[in-house]
C-alpha cells in the first residue's frame, strides 16, 4: 500500500534528523537493556556479599565469645610463651657450667695421689693447680690433662717443687 504524507514538506523534520533520532533511540534501547542487566547484577552481588558478610560476622562474634570463655587458658599459654622466650635467653647466657663439667671429667681421670690444690673457673677458661707427690703421679697428671680430650688448649703456666707437697703444676685450660 502506498503511504501518502499529507503534511507540508516544510513542516516535516529533515530525513537526516529522523535518522539521527532513530540511532539515538536504538542506543537508548540497548543502553536501557544494559542498564537493567547491570542493575540486576549489582543487586545480586550486593545481596550475596551482604548475606555472606552477615554470616561471617555472626561466626566471628560466636568464635570471639568462645575465645573469651577460654581467656584463662589464653593467659596461661601466653605466660608459658613469654617465660619460654625469656628462658631461651637465660639458657643462652654465658656460664661456667661447661668448665665445671670439663674439670669434673678431668678430675675423675687423674691419678689417685694427685690433688687439686686450687682452681679458678671462668666463663672461657680454667686455671688449675695440681699437686703430685712424686714423678710417677706427675706423669699421670700430665698424661691425663693431655689425653682427656676435653680441652683444646693446655698451657702449663708454672711448675714448681717443694719437699712438703711435691710437684705443683699450674695449667691454664681453654675448651
Amino acid at each position: 500500500m502506498t503511504q501518502i504524507n499529507l503534511l507540508p514538506t516544510d513542516l516535516a523534520p529533515r530525513p537526516k534528523i529522523i535518522r539521527a533520532s532513530l540511532v539515538v533511540k536504538q542506543i537508548l534501547t540497548v543502553g536501557f537493556i544494559l542498564f537493567i542487566i547491570l542493575a540486576v547484577a549489582v543487586s545480586i552481588f550486593y545481596y550475596l556479599y551482604s548475606r555472606d558478610l552477615k554470616l561471617s560476622q555472626t561466626k566471628v562474634a560466636e568464635i570471639k565469645g568462645n575465645i573469651k570463655s577460654l581467656e584463662v587458658t589464653e593467659q596461661r599459654l601466653l605466660l608459658v610463651k613469654d617465660r619460654l622466650d625469656k628462658a631461651k635467653l637465660v639458657l643462652g647466657m654465658d656460664s661456667t657450667f661447661d668448665e665445671i663439667e670439663a674439670a669434673s671429667t678431668l678430675f675423675s681421670s687423674l691419678p689417685e695421689e694427685a690433688t687439686l690444690s686450687s682452681a679458678q673457673f671462668e666463663v672461657d677458661k680454667s686455671k688449675m693447680l695440681l699437686t703430685s707427690p712424686n714423678t710417677t703421679t706427675l706423669n699421670g697428671v700430665i698424661a691425663s690433662v693431655i689425653s682427656s680430650g676435653v680441652y683444646k688448649y693446655v698451657d702449663m703456666t708454672s711448675f714448681s717443687f717443694t719437699p712438703e707437697t711435691g710437684f705443683n703444676v699450674e695449667f691454664t685450660l681453654i675448651k
Binding site: 513542516l11 523534520p13 547491570l38 561466626k59 568464635i63 570471639k64 635467653l89
Partner: protein, 231 residues
Amino acid sequence: MNLSKGISAISTNARVLVWPFILLAILLFLFIFVLKIGIGQIISLREELVTSKAEEVILSQKLNVLNTSQESALPLADLSLIALPSENPALTIISQLKTLSAERGITISNIEASGGAQQETTIINTIEVNLTLNGEIAPTLDFLKTLKTTSPLVTLDEVKVNSEVGLARVEVKIFGQFAPLPTTLPAIASPLNELSAEDKDILAKISTYNLPVFTEVPPSGPYERPDLFNF
C-alpha cells in the same frame, strides 16, 4: 515569511531530537550512578567480607589452639613460672642450694644474695648469690654441675677452689634471673600460635630439672568463738 518557515523547521527538528537526547542523558546519569554507588558498595562489601573471612580463619585457629592446650596450659604455666619466676627468686634459689648441698654432704658456710631491683627497661632482671662451700672436691663439682639442671634457672659465674688435705673451700658466684609477667593480653583477634618445637624442647628440658619443694601452710580458722558467759 522565509524566516518564520526557518524557525518552524528548526523547532520541528528539535522536537524530534529533544526527547531521545533527554532520555540519553538520564541513561548516562543512571549508568554513572549505578557504577559509582552500586559497584563502589560491592567493592567495599567484598573487602569487608575478605577481612571478616581472614579474621574468622585466625580466630578459628586460635580457638583450636586454646581448646587443645586447655588441659596442659596450667601445669606448663606453673613449670615455666618456677623456672623463670616473676619476682626475686633469691629465697627459692637459696632453698635449692641448701637442699642440693645437703644431699651431697657439702656444707654452706656463707651465703649472700644481692641485687634484684626490678627494672622496667630490662627484659630479664638478675640477682647475685655468693656462697662458700666446704666439702670434698668431687661432690662439690657434682653439686655445681647439678645447678645447671635446677629450677629456678641460674647461671654460674666465677668459681674459686682452694683445697687442703682433701677438703675444698669453694667460692661460687651464681646469677639468678627473673622477669616480670606480661601485663596485657593481646587483642582478641590477634593470632595465637601453638608452642613451637623449640619451645616444647625447652619445656621438656625444664620439666626434668630439680624443682624446689614448696610447703603449703594450711589456713587457720575461722573457728567458732567460745561463749564466755556460758559456764
